[in-house]
Amino acid sequence: MAGAVAQGDVFVRVAARRRRSSLTRSRIRSAWLFIAPSLIILALIAGWPLARTIWFSFTDANLNNLSDYEFIGFENYLANYDGEWLGLLTDPDWWQSVWNTVWFTLVSVSIETVLGIIVALILNATFPGRGLMRAIILIPWAIPTIVSAKMWNWMLHDQFGVINDMLLRAGLIAAPMTWTANADTALWAAVAVDVWKHTSFMALLILAALQMLPQDIYEAAKVDGVSPTRVFFRITLPLIKPALLVAVIFRSLDALRVFDLIYVLTSNSRDTASMSIYARQQLVDFQEVGLGSAASTLIFLIIALIVVITLAAGRVRLGEDPR
């Protein structure tokens, strides 16, 4: 009698498990069905073009006729013709564009980080008009990059620009400057526009982190009479560091692929070209699909390398510090 009850119990349980697992299986099947369209589209418009770009970088393809090309190995990157080294890696213009991009990224992201922290701290305080302020700083972020570049181009105009006018009136410069045409100042102009446009993104990410901080630490620090600067460097900064790192990485990856801002602001000049501008110029203006693809591939590898390094570094740090 008791055995029969137990047996019946087992039957019920096995049946339940079977039902659950068939439900799980059907859910997993539907999961793949739901993901499939996105995966197919991404493979078609991201995976395939990337693979083709890498392949083209080993060919002498030309934009005029993309179906007629030959495999030439690494010659787009580096080749030796009668003792003379040729190819992308020997092109001073390429290295200039690499240096421009790296310099632009380092300078603009550093400034954006410092300003972003300041803006976030301000927005984290309670004051009348805080919501309005948050909306105002979002405006530069929402303006299309081309439009920002044109607006600043006009403000930085050598003859009629308002910035020259302001600086002249303030007595900071003696004569109008050609900000965007001069190689020395053009990249600084690009940094200024980038800072103007992207500081709000940085500030909003940092603000989100600030708002998740526990308030009791601050009350304790206040009770103990710790100075605000000490509170910032000893409490706030360490606590928001993870979010800060994420924001810095996002911005850096974005800045490394800069194209439209510099392209429009400095009217496509060789001295200020970024890596992306160089690659597109080879590809479209000079029709050299092979060489342009080689540059594209290198850009992809540089960015991929940075992503892998930061991911690895993040994991290592997480492993050391259980916080």
Binding site: S26, R27, I28, A31, I35, P37, S38, L39, L42, L44, I45, A46, P49, L50, R52, T53, L66, I118, A125, F127, G131, M133, R134, A135, L138, I139, A142, I143, P144, T145, I146, A149, K150, M151, W152, W154, M155, Q159, G161, V162, W196, L204, L205, A208, M212, A243, V246, R257, F259, D260, V264, M275, S276, R280, L283, G292, S296, F300, I303, A304
Partner: protein, 274 residues
């Protein structure tokens, strides 16, 4: 001391506000000045001369450019949200093998430098016969919007309580019905946020639009503004360019101000929680 730091605080607030707003303000007052008036610097609006606004539509197919941008961005948003929502349901609610790896791959795609796919994308678009067409731009822009749409919607999807769908499944609903009847209504706010971000990305996109279109009639707004030329090759028509800039910026700013909170939530969802 306290008063002094109060004053310093407000000066800082005002400085940030001025820095953020001045370029737009200056573009607006410049757009209402034309001819030789532009060759003097003015800090305050003096008069409202609509010449530039008429010239924008007169000298180039700018109305068509705006329409192109709306068609491209609108279609991109619709496709991204449709595909993104179903994919996010699978990623956010169903545990299956390879899920984390796939999500990482999709995140990696959103970090692709656009230029890395440029020649391959050029070949793809040309072989599909989509060069210099709007569908070609839509296809290319999906590469930019679809990955982060999936990513952000997945973070939102994960936050919904588990009991909701369990109740539906117990009642015998299929996964498709659960997505449509249970999650779609709950995800509406997240969809608005993500859709807005995707719209802004597509509306602002320049590199693909510049490379995959040839004629002025097929261009979207960013390359149209970037390539605007004046009556002479030497002097750019700054007044017209500023007018065009104001025309395409104002709708975006209105969107941003209306949906400010949602946009901030979307921007931070991908980064902070993910």
């Amino acid at each position: 001391m306290k008063v002094l730091s109060r004053i310093g605080f407000w000066l800082l607030v005002i400085a940030i506000g001025l820095f953020a707003l001045f370029p737009l303000y200056y573009a607006i007052i410049s757009s209402f000045r034309s001819g030789s008036a532009l060759f003097t610097t003015a800090y305050l609006p003096e008069r409202f001369d609509p010449t530039n606004y008429i010239a924008v539509f007169d000298r180039q197919p700018f109305g068509q450019n705006i329409l192109n941008s709306i068609i491209v961005a609108g279609t991109v948003v619709a496709i991204s949200l449709g595909l993104g929502m179903t994919a996010a349901y699978a990623f956010g609610r169903i545990a299956f093998r390879g899920r984390a790896l796939l999500l990482m791959t999709i995140l990696a795609v959103s970090m692709f430098p656009q230029v890395a796919v440029l020649s391959g994308m050029f070949e793809l678009i040309r072989s599909l016969g989509l060069y210099n067409t709007l569908p070609g731009l839509i296809l290319a822009n999906l590469m930019l919007t679809l990955p982060f749409t999936i990513w952000v919607l997945t973070t939102f999807m994960r936050e919904l309580p588990k009991e909701i769908e369990e109740a539906a499944f117990v009642d015998g609903a299929t996964p498709w019905i659960v997505v449509r009847r249970v999650f779609l209504p709950l995800m509406a706010p997240a969809a608005v946020t993500t859709g807005l971000l995707a719209f802004i990305v597509s509306w602002n996109e320049f590199l693909f639009a510049l490379t995959f279109t040839l004629t002025n009639e097929r261009r979207t707004v960013p390359p149209a503004i970037a390539l605007m030329t004046g009556s002479t090759a030497y002097e750019l028509p700054w007044g017209t360019i500023m007018a065009a800039s104001v025309i395409v910026t104002v709708p975006i700013i209105v969107l941003v101000l209306v949906f400010q909170r949602k946009i901030v939530a979307g921007l931070t969802a991908g980064a902070v929680k993910g």
